[in-house]
């Protein structure tokens, strides 16, 4: 190529590209882009790799057989123009420009015909990156084409029947919490009752009096069971029992039993009789 892309303006007919020594007759349409459309064009690219791929594809260059000279010239033309027009250019584009310039310069150096030279082809890394990028660029397009939720398919749902009610998971309660609650009640009740006069309920002393009274009426002799009123419930029974024990302790009554498990008799103590 003696005269690579010389200009991006419309006036100059563009030179044709050569691929493997063959002229490509298709005119690269994109080079007719007016300069003020460049920024918009730039926005359409994902970066210098994307932009380079675009240039390569548009010129039908073979990626594997990359004509670095031409592609570099093309690339630089755009970059220079965009810089002249004061477009904000991402740093990556300039890095790429530097990389291309370096590759070009290395290619211009006299070549060694040894095997080392092959391995050191300065284009290799760029080509590898371009190919790798192209693979993922294509994969992104393929992914976008996959059927996807919200666009191509939608979840199919049914409402719950009217009689539905969720499963309730109840909180755990420790027994200690109940006791703590009870203590709170008591504490509060005590505070509330500060001015109340405490009144003993079902007093043992009162029951003692009643038993004594009963003994008087029965000539000082009662069967143990007669001291209890079952209708008073457990509390009554207990109070009566306590009263009898108290009377015994105070030696007001005597308890007698003739044989184990036999009837217990309550009688007034002799000294009182």
């Amino acid at each position: 190529m003696t005269e690579p892309v010389a200009s991006l303006t419309i006036q100059h007919p563009l030179p044709l590209a050569f691929v493997r020594g063959e002229a490509v007759l298709d005119r690269p349409e994109d080079l007719y882009i007016p300069p003020d459309a460049l920024e918009i064009l730039l926005d359409a690219f994902e970066g210098p790799l994307d932009f380079l791929l675009y240039l390569i594809r548009r010129h039908k260059f073979d990626l594997v057989d990359l004509p670095v000279n031409e592609i570099t010239l093309q690339y630089m033309e755009y970059i220079n123009l965009m810089q002249e027009l004061n477009f904000e250019l991402a740093a990556e584009y300039l890095v790429m420009a530097a990389m291309l310039a370096e590759i070009k310069s290395r290619l211009l150096l006299p070549q060694l015909s040894s095997a080392d030279a092959e391995e050191l082809d300065p284009r290799a890394e760029l080509v590898r990156r371009l190919q790798e990028y192209e693979v993922f660029k294509q994969a992104a397009t393929d992914l976008d084409a996959l059927p996807r939720q919200e666009r191509d398919f939608f979840p199919a749902k049914a409402s719950l029947a009217d009689n539905f009610s969720p499963l309730l998971i109840f909180p755990e309660v420790e027994f200690d919490e109940l006791i703590a609650a009870l203590k709170d009640i008591v504490k509060r009740a005590n505070a509330l009752q500060h001015h109340h006069i405490k009144r003993e309920h079902l007093s043992t002393r009162e029951r003692m009096s009643r038993i004594l009274d009963l003994l008087q009426q029965r000539q000082g002799y009662l069967e143990f069971a007669e001291c209890f009123e079952l209708s008073e419930g457990r509390e009554g029974v207990v109070v009566s029992f306590l009263a009898i024990l108290e009377l015994t302790k105070e030696k007001l009554v005597e308890l007698t039993q003739v044989a184990p498990y036999a009837q217990i008799h309550v009688k007034l103590a002799m000294n009182e009789a």
Partner: protein
């Protein structure tokens, strides 16, 4: 404009639309949206919707027409099993709930008014509902006073939960008892008490 659609495709499209929509779809909405491109007569629409209802008559879901339109619903008989997909954790019980419960346990049968008297604050309907929903408390009768208030008692489920064989296995009231018995005198004789008496 009005494109053609055969009955099979129409049924599939309506089926997909009713399943995909977030709410019931009326015939009008169906005509204005998914059927917009097609000329589907009202009679045809009815016929296909009936066919769809028929198709689902023996499945786990059914197509119901309510006031707002067509919608698939799960069958009522699966509600209990499906409930397990949405377990709802209730919050921990408040102190008010626990106090009410413990008063019912020790003082049963007891009216709400009596609980309020002891606690010194009102007992909300919500508290009682929390305890009855849990199955720990129930109304066992009505007190023969004006208003016939319900008498609450604890249940076997309450005893089971706390691992108690019967009410008398509740810890003795000891120091609590005086206060409790004084506030509601008339009940003392009916309560299952194991505490020390005076």
């Amino acid at each position: 404009m009005a494109r053609k659609i055969n009955d099979v495709q129409l049924l599939q499209l309506l089926e997909a639309a009713i399943f995909a929509a977030d709410k019931p779809l009326s015939r009008t909405e169906l005509q204005a949206t998914v059927l917009d491109d097609f000329a589907v007569s009202s009679r045809k629409l009815t016929q296909i919707l009936q066919q769809l209802q028929q198709d689902y008559s023996a499945r786990g879901i059914q197509l119901l027409e309510t006031a707002s339109g067509y919608r698939f619903h799960t069958r009522p008989e699966f509600s209990d099993a499906l409930a397990k997909l949405w377990p709802e954790r209730s919050p921990r019980y408040s102190r008010a709930v626990l106090e009410t419960l413990v008063l019912i346990a020790y003082r049963q049968p007891i009216t709400r008014g009596e609980i309020e008297e002891v606690r010194g604050v009102s007992v909300s309907t919500q508290i009682i509902r929390t305890l009855t929903e849990r199955g720990w408390v129930k109304v066992v009768g009505y007190k023969e006073v004006p208003g016939r208030p319900g008498l609450y008692a604890t249940t076997a489920a309450f005893l089971d939960y706390f691992g108690l064989p019967h009410l008398t296995a509740l810890p003795p009231l000891t120091e609590f008892q005086a206060i409790l018995s004084e506030n509601v005198e008339q009940h003392v004789s009916t309560v299952e008490m194991t505490g020390e008496l005076h």
